[in-house]
Symmetry: C2
Subunit: 322 residues, 2 copies
């Protein structure tokens, strides 16, 4: 929630000179996205988003992300379509950083999703998986299950600093996840960051589209549901809302039914998804400088979700209506 | 440049329920304004800005500010017109804070204004003074010349901390300004914060309007020009750009010619205007907590402008074409 890169009027003008979008009528930095700088841009031809890619997004991954957004938009999925310049390029540079202009996607995200939002979000996630089928590029999930143990190794002290004894609990979790992690589930492109702030609705709880594909990668499709169950279906008091989870899975299955293997894997996938977000938050918690413009997200939120999955490994299955 | 107050979807929905604007289609926090939280709001009826008033803006001043914006818009001045709810209210509340919805004002601010921008900005400032004539409300300038000495008293140590010996220099400046401050100049409503980020252009350097009237007050109209000369006509290297200043004054006079007394007063007014911004920046520099989302503006920028006016009190007069 911050603008990192400032774009001057001259820099904007010279960027727009490469496009057929006309001159800028309005240009505002928006408080959206913590990984990139985002600007709402209006020209004579319409409204756009200019994203300047900052830390964490690797330049070599950008053709995958932008190609995916174009592919999804071409296949009827509501997401922001990248705009090409006169030479056909989607990926540009401004102030020495990679950037892209995409079409404006209307819609509202919700802070506290209700059951109806969870259902619509599940449907939107399945539509994404279906629309992405056949996308020719691939990107391994560098924050996937195989990465967690090496990622955690240097963070053990930080975990104990957060909560004494936590490092050993996490190590045991990691051993369990490594042993129980399902193989051979249907795979494809996943969003991998399908949180409420990345999903838009209109007219209340009608799915309007998804944004922020900058973690998208190849993995088990059901793992994307597991990420979403963690992100959408916990109450502020830390309890898992089985009604919301059931609605999300039902919404998903209205578009893409799950196999028995996918359904059976949901508990361990959800446990693992909680681990993935716990680990990156633990990392960011320790490394974000005190004066930074972005407040790191609390790793304890995901530590509590981990505890829920650890204590009641079948819980998510109830959400799945089994 | 930050969003202070987060507005949830429920809060937005219940606020909009009081208006005839339809439901929200899009809602984004924008990185604009350091004193308030600003959101770009789109509904079925158009685009708006929602401003939530934070620190420094006193609730009892809001009827003046909103009334002025309405008055200016009604008198042909391009600024954001406040929207009334069904009961006729402009000033509302959200999350316990005062807020208002205003119409969206298109346009681009410039980071590094050129001579043509300065001319157009001067014209826009004179149009503001002319359009505001007859506005029935009044608000004393609580950051005006009479306030500077008491404002500085507790900051003397901070000034010396910034630059050894500075407190004595500022005290001498304040004595000079108190003795030389002009009386009886034509007065009226001034913008009082007419900086490049508060002025919009279109098609390059055509004046498109002004925003952020939250320092507006009654004072000498020429003092508003003096604030603008400081804000627009210094080069990054600290030198005063006489060509830009001349263009700004000429643009102003194309709409509202200055009297001989106003013109003669410009040097001391410009010296005083530099003092006003130096003092508030000095204050904010010391009081902004280290982890704050907003970086305080460097008081040394205005300390250098003060030095320029002190060393060459006639400089601004050359800008005025005398």
């Amino acid at each position: 929630m911050a603008v990192y890169t400032d774009i001057s009027d001259q820099e904007l003008e010279s960027l727009l000179a490469d496009y057929d979008l006309g001159e800028a009528i309005s240009f505002k930095g928006v408080a959206e996205g913590v990984e990139n700088s985002n600007f709402l841009l209006e020209t004579g031809t319409g409204r756009y988003f200019l994203t300047v890619y900052e830390r964490r997004v690797r330049a070599e991954d950008l053709p995958f992300f932008l190609g995916l957004m174009r592919w999804l938009a071409d296949h009827g999925y509501p997401c922001a379509r990248p705009v090409t310049d006169r030479a056909g390029a989607e990926l540009k540079q401004v102030r020495g950083k990679p950037c892209a202009i995409v079409e404006f996607l209307p819609g509202l995200s919700v802070r506290r999703p209700g059951v109806a939002h969870c259902r619509a979000a599940g449907e939107g996630l399945a539509r994404l998986h279906v629309a992405a089928a056949g996308f020719p590029l691939s990107r391994p999930n560098d924050l996937g299950a195989a990465a967690w143990s090496p990622y955690f190794a240097p963070l053990a002290a930080a975990a104990d600093g957060l909560k004494p004894g936590l490092a050993a609990v996490i190590a045991a979790d990691l051993a369990h996840l490594a042993a129980a992690w399902p193989q051979g589930l249907p795979g494809g492109v996943i969003h991998a960051d399908y949180f409420p702030d990345n999903v838009f609705f209109h007219h209340g709880a009608e799915f309007a589209g998804a944004i922020d594909f900058y973690f998208a990668c190849d993995d088990a499709l059901a793992y994307d549901i597991a990420i979403a169950l963690n992100a959408w279906c916990f109450e502020p008091d830390g309890s898992f809302n089985i009604t919301a989870a059931r609605a999300m899975v039902a919404g998903y299955e209205a578009v893409r039914p799950l196999s028995a293997a996918e359904r059976a894997a949901l508990p361990v996938l959800a446990h693992g998804a909680a681990m993935r977000f716990f680990l990156t938050r633990l990392h960011d918690w320790g490394t974000t400088p005190a004066g930074a413009l972005v407040r790191p997200k609390d790793p304890l939120e995901y530590e509590r979700k981990l505890a829920v999955h650890r204590a009641a490994p079948d819980l998510v299955l109830f959400g799945a209506g089994v």
